[in-house]
Amino acid sequence: MPWWLPVQASSYAPQIDGMFLAILIITGLAFFIVEGGLIWFIFKYRERPGRGGGRKAYYTHGNVKAEYVWTAFPAVVVVGLGLVSNHYWNEIKGRDSVPADAYPIKVHAKQFEWLFTYPGPDGQLGTDDDVAEVRNRLHVPLGRAIVLEQEAEDVIHSVFVPAFRLKQDAVPGMHIRSWFIATRLGEHELACAELCGMGHYKMRARVTVQPQAEFDAWLARAAQGEIE
């Protein structure tokens, strides 16, 4: 059974997985300290009626020095983690993190479908040459920054592409942008990650990453209504 994270198919997937690994190592250490310590204490200090019966526990109300240590140490670690996360957070989701030359694709989420609108030759959304409302098909060119202009028709949905490590809610009444750069050719899956009704689990779209040329060809066909 696979036991690690899915394939990395976007530019920031390695960074996110890196963070994950780092936190796993830190928390893993803490885990072994705590659980190991507990198990050790359980055996070492358990009450033994036989030998030294009536032995009393060591009478102490604590040790301020020790407490300073195990207060300060975690504090430093988590604040450090916080700063690192914040760095990547601003890179990936910050208001001005979207690359300037990003290729816009409109995502219209409704119960229980994804409707993608691609800009026509003019590269602008909202013009008449748009390839409008392609159902459950997200095609993106390889290695090019894509910005999803997300909107929701009825309830809250969430764009989730595990391979891209991308997740962003689509909220009715709000216009939310999220971006990524696909770095791996092939088919991926897009799921809705926010409970949106009885068909939530069926709200699935296919993501196809292809070279620019193939993408353009596909878009031209899609403009004629030939999605396949």
Partner: protein, 588 residues
């Protein structure tokens, strides 16, 4: 039980012998009310578990008829095949019952009621009648919530967080009445918790026995006190939000209705502004009671009592400025996200302090592994895992991937089941003699503990794994997704473990009922504890004390060199102890 007549005491309380109804049903005795809450919430614990089992079946064997499922009506499971809309109701109701009607009343309703007066040396709560009202309001709320499962179209389908607009739009969720009942029930529950909290806070502040200074309070009382403060400030916000939701559904207001200018995120902000303090309402009392049990089981004073108190207070304070970490992916301003992330990281510190202090308490102790102690140690172990996995989702970039996946599910169950529920099993066993004058069977208690511990980890640990694969929460059929198909056997494994976990809980329930009548009579202080409650007969009479005891020291004087026993009750006067000043009340 001795009647109140046999136990006259100062202050309020009935002096005539009371009939069955006044004594056990509409009682104003904090102990009876606590026991009423206990039965109520254990019932909902069972219901919530049953719902979870149905979910697990569907996840492991999607679309296959559930054994015995054919007894369910057409609208839920035609031919035993669970419908998606019913599955979402299961998700919603499992969360709602467990959070609002099982864990919360078990921790606060039961133990704040039962322990606070006994541990601080009060005759009863400050407002016994309000206390009774609090229980019956909760009872009503529970009834309404349970009824919502059986009305046409069934219960709410929006998850336990009932995110608007899905919850506010019957045409989109497919359910109206059930969702309205949800709002009504939650509003009632909020009222009940407010009435309770007023009592707890007033009692702790004003009605402590002479000598029971703030820093001689047991940590359980400290935790319950802070919890009550959280409750009294958080629940009204939830009630307000629930009322707005109810109005949106009923009289056509537009609070959460984007087309008419409402805000979808407003609900999330209101809900989580309540919801995060709620998370600590669900864990702080467990921490407090575990501290008591752990010190007792280690026969050693709690390690760093003061920092434990400050940690509780710190958590109680920080709990108010971290709610946004539930909304990192909601489209909220990312800059806001950063600040919430930092505060969330900081709140890990007090939790770490507590874990290390618990270990410090066990260090060089004389560990006595009675059943409550086992559960207490398991609490520390499991809470540590839950706390550590929390750091993953606190780190916003990682949360971007694991948000709304089973990683979250694993995390919250490690905190709520591995944490709160283990602590509760311990607490129930520990104070059972005080409640019912009997001891729960220790042998079966240990069997129940080990089996629960085993199957619990087999159930929830693999959820981290499928969460890392990106397995979304609240989906009816994971096999729809190619990337989840390799994990289907993990789902099956989890399901089988979950069934085992559920069935071994029956051991606990049987033990509980059996001991009510057959359990052996305890000595007055069965655990050799220092708390004031053990200076009373088991069970304690209405009004607790004829004369309130005086307190000479803190609650954790185990293995003190001053006496040869390894425990020293708070109210035992040693020659050197000065008599605490007896005040005739607060001086104006």
């Amino acid at each position: 039980m001795t009647t109140a007549a046999a136990m006259p005491h100062v202050g309020h309380g009935e002096h005539a012998p009371m009939g069955f109804w006044r004594k056990y049903i509409f009682s104003t005795d904090h102990k009876i009310i606590g026991i009423q809450f206990l039965f109520l919430s254990l019932f909902f614990l069972l219901v919530g578990g049953l719902l979870a089992m149905q979910m697990r079946w569907q996840l492991a064997y999607p679309g296959q008829p559930m054994p015995g499922g054919s007894i369910l009506p057409e609208s839920m499971a035609p031919g035993g095949i669970l419908l998606p809309e019913y599955y979402i109701q299961l998700v919603t109701m499992h969360g709602t019952f467990m959070v609002f009607f099982a864990i919360m009343p078990l921790l606060v309703g039961v133990y704040a009621n039962f322990l606070i007066p006994l541990k601080i040396g009060a005759h009863d709560m400050a407002f016994p009648r309000i206390n009774m009202a609090s229980f019956w309001t909760a009872f009503l709320a529970g009834g309404v919530m349970l009824a919502s499962l059986f009305v046409p179209e069934g219960a709410s389908r929006a998850g336990w967080t009932v995110y608007a607009p899905l919850s506010a739009r019957p045409d989109l969720s497919g359910v109206l009445l059930g969702q309205q009942l949800w709002s009504v029930s939650i509003t009632l529950l909020g009222l009940s918790s407010i009435l309770g909290s007023v009592n707890y806070i007033t009692t702790v502040i004003n009605n402590r026995a002479p000598g029971m200074t703030w820093f001689r309070l047991p940590l359980s009382v400290w935790a319950l006190f802070i919890t009550a403060i959280l409750g009294i400030l958080a629940l009204p916000v939830l009630s307000g939000a629930a009322i707005m939701l109810l109005f949106d559904q009923t009289i056509g207001t537009h609070f959460f209705d984007p087309p008419a200018g409402g805000q979808a995120l407003l609900w999330q902000h209101l809900f989580w502004f309540f919801g995060h303090p709620e998370v600590y309402i669900l864990i702080l009392p467990a921490m407090g009671m575990v501290s008591d049990i752990l010190a007792n089981g280690s026969r050693k004073p709690i390690f760093g009592y003061h920092s434990m108190v400050f940690a509780i207070v710190g958590i109680g304070f920080l709990g108010w400025i971290v709610w946004g970490h539930h909304m990192f992916m909601s489209g909220m301003n990312p800059t806001l996200g950063s600040s919430f992330m930092i505060s969330t990281m900081v709140i890990a510190v007090p939790s770490a302090i507590k874990v290390f202090n618990w270990m410090g308490t066990m260090w060089r102790g004389n560990l006595r592994f009675h059943v409550p102690m086992m559960h207490a140690v398991a609490f520390v172990a499991m809470f540590a895992i839950g706390g550590l996995s929390g750091i993953f989702m606190a780190a916003t970039p990682v949360d971007m991937f694991i948000h709304d996946t089973y990683f979250i599910v694993a995390h919250l169950h490690y905190v709520l089941f591995g944490g709160s529920l283990f602590a509760l099993f311990g607490a129930i066993t520990y104070w059972y003699p005080k409640m019912f004058g009997r001891v729960m069977h220790p042998g079966w208690g240990k069997i129940h503990f080990w089996l629960t511990f085993l199957f619990y980890n087999m159930t929830f640990f693999p959820m981290h794994n499928i969460g890392m694969a990106g397995h979304m929460r609240r989906i009816y059929d994971p096999t729809v997704y190619e990337f989840l198909q390799p994990y289907q056997w993990t789902n099956k494994f989890i399901t089988v473990s979950a069934f085992c976990l559920f069935s071994v809980q029956l051991i606990f329930f049987i033990n509980f009922w059996w001991s009510l009548w057959r359990g052996k009579q305890p000595e007055q202080n069965p655990w050799h504890d220092n708390g004031l409650e053990w200076s009373l007969p088991n069970p304690a009479p209405h009004g607790n004390w004829e004369r309130v005891p005086s307190v000479y020291r803190g609650p954790y004087e185990f293995s003190s060199p001053e006496v040869e026993e390894d425990y020293l009750p708070q109210n035992r006067k040693l020659p050197k102890d000065p008599e605490p000043p007896v005040l005739t009340g607060a001086v104006s």
